[in-house]
Symmetry: none
Subunit: 143 residues, 4 copies
Amino acid sequence: MNPTFSQIKLSHAGALQLLNTAIEKAMTMQQPQCIAIVDEGCNLLAFMRMDGAKVLSEKSAIHKAMTAASSRVPTGNTEEALAAKLAAATGGVVTNLKGGLPIILNGQVVGGIGVGSGTGNQDREVANHALAAFVGAQTFVFD
Amino acid sequence: MNPTFSQIKLSHAGALQLLNTAIEKAMTMQQPQCIAIVDEGCNLLAFMRMDGAKVLSEKSAIHKAMTAASSRVPTGNTEEALAAKLAAATGGVVTNLKGGLPIILNGQVVGGIGVGSGTGNQDREVANHALAAFVGAQTFVFD
Amino acid sequence: MNPTFSQIKLSHAGALQLLNTAIEKAMTMQQPQCIAIVDEGCNLLAFMRMDGAKVLSEKSAIHKAMTAASSRVPTGNTEEALAAKLAAATGGVVTNLKGGLPIILNGQVVGGIGVGSGTGNQDREVANHALAAFVGAQTFVFD
Amino acid sequence: MNPTFSQIKLSHAGALQLLNTAIEKAMTMQQPQCIAIVDEGCNLLAFMRMDGAKVLSEKSAIHKAMTAASSRVPTGNTEEALAAKLAAATGGVVTNLKGGLPIILNGQVVGGIGVGSGTGNQDREVANHALAAFVGAQTFVFD
């Protein structure tokens, strides 16, 4: 086996673009949001708390982004009993709140976007919109 | 868009008044309380643990005040499964215990008051009483 | 030996008086302060962040009060190398910043008062003034 | 005394402008940076980790911004022994690393900007440049 492999990384220009399109969408929806973007290592790349967004959504938005980047699937679909155990085992970092989506380019997870302050459905709508505006990024269909 | 906006802040004189009226009410009810007042940024402004109040209610009273200031609605009305996820994702700061009320002046949230040591209904009665005695503050009706 | 002993406790009325006289003094000095009062168990009794006081002095004011209540002497006089070890070993709770004074009534430590946002000398002047206005409380002389 | 007072708050549009000008400056200097902007309550408003910036500078950039917003002066000028005690007493949040500047508009502190990954002098040069491009913001002169 090879001792190394190549990883696509999201640049700060890419993160800024995701941030800007998420902000625009949230303004159109008239629902201020906290928006967090992390890389594939779950480290924070970009963050914005919009005017009127909940102060305490900073942490949950970041945790949503981290959870999606790590699990590689949207947050909010884990069976409840398992979700509670995962949250406890990770000090609350792994969250099953809706609003976290993995950022997937050419089938490779390059990070996660987490949105919080609205309803769970609003949060993931904003996140999904930002992905839709990002060339090559996978988007998600929710029930 | 404007680079700034204006925000009403609660002064320490205002916080002291809320604290004093909450203490008076709790004494009338003969239910000692922990009482916390935070500003709109969820930072602690004022706190009192009354004689006989529960030592461990310090943290929960502060978290109630923070939750109400951030969410802008009374604590205790969130659906249980969502509340558990929000608590986990924020290290327990976002709480669904009754007894946290937003402090709303002229339609603007300027902070939160959190009360704890009694029953949930007693806690929010004390918080609501303090708001009722504060000129211009919104009060709440509970079932 | 007796299985129990008696402890004088500071009431919330006493804590409120200390808070009020500290606030008055700080206003006279035109130096807004964070003021914390803890009981002999180092648990928070009362707190106030005055208008214009430093947000980040909340934690340090509380830690000063806790340190003084526990050590039973004013903060700020520990030899530097020892102080650094004590701070490290207690997660920063034991602090050698000036501005923490024990509350001593009839020779018994009933708690601590911690003040922060000004210079160390201003901080302990406010704390000492609050003690001077409290009947029976020991005050301190600083160089 | 008045129960409230008025405070200027930095909008997310203002925070985004500071972020963008800081990024531009850092690119011109060819020194990638972590850039954090907090409001006057020390809560995070905006953050960016540029390509090549140090992962572990996330926390220090945020702490620089918080320290400057709370103390209302640039970080890095505190006497060393005092700085060490302040850091310990606040769990490392209050930092004396260079690179944190208060955001002062019309004489009112509305937040702080913290920059980290370069040398201390590079960090504060980027922060100061962002302030210089912000209409009405105070800038700083360093030796």
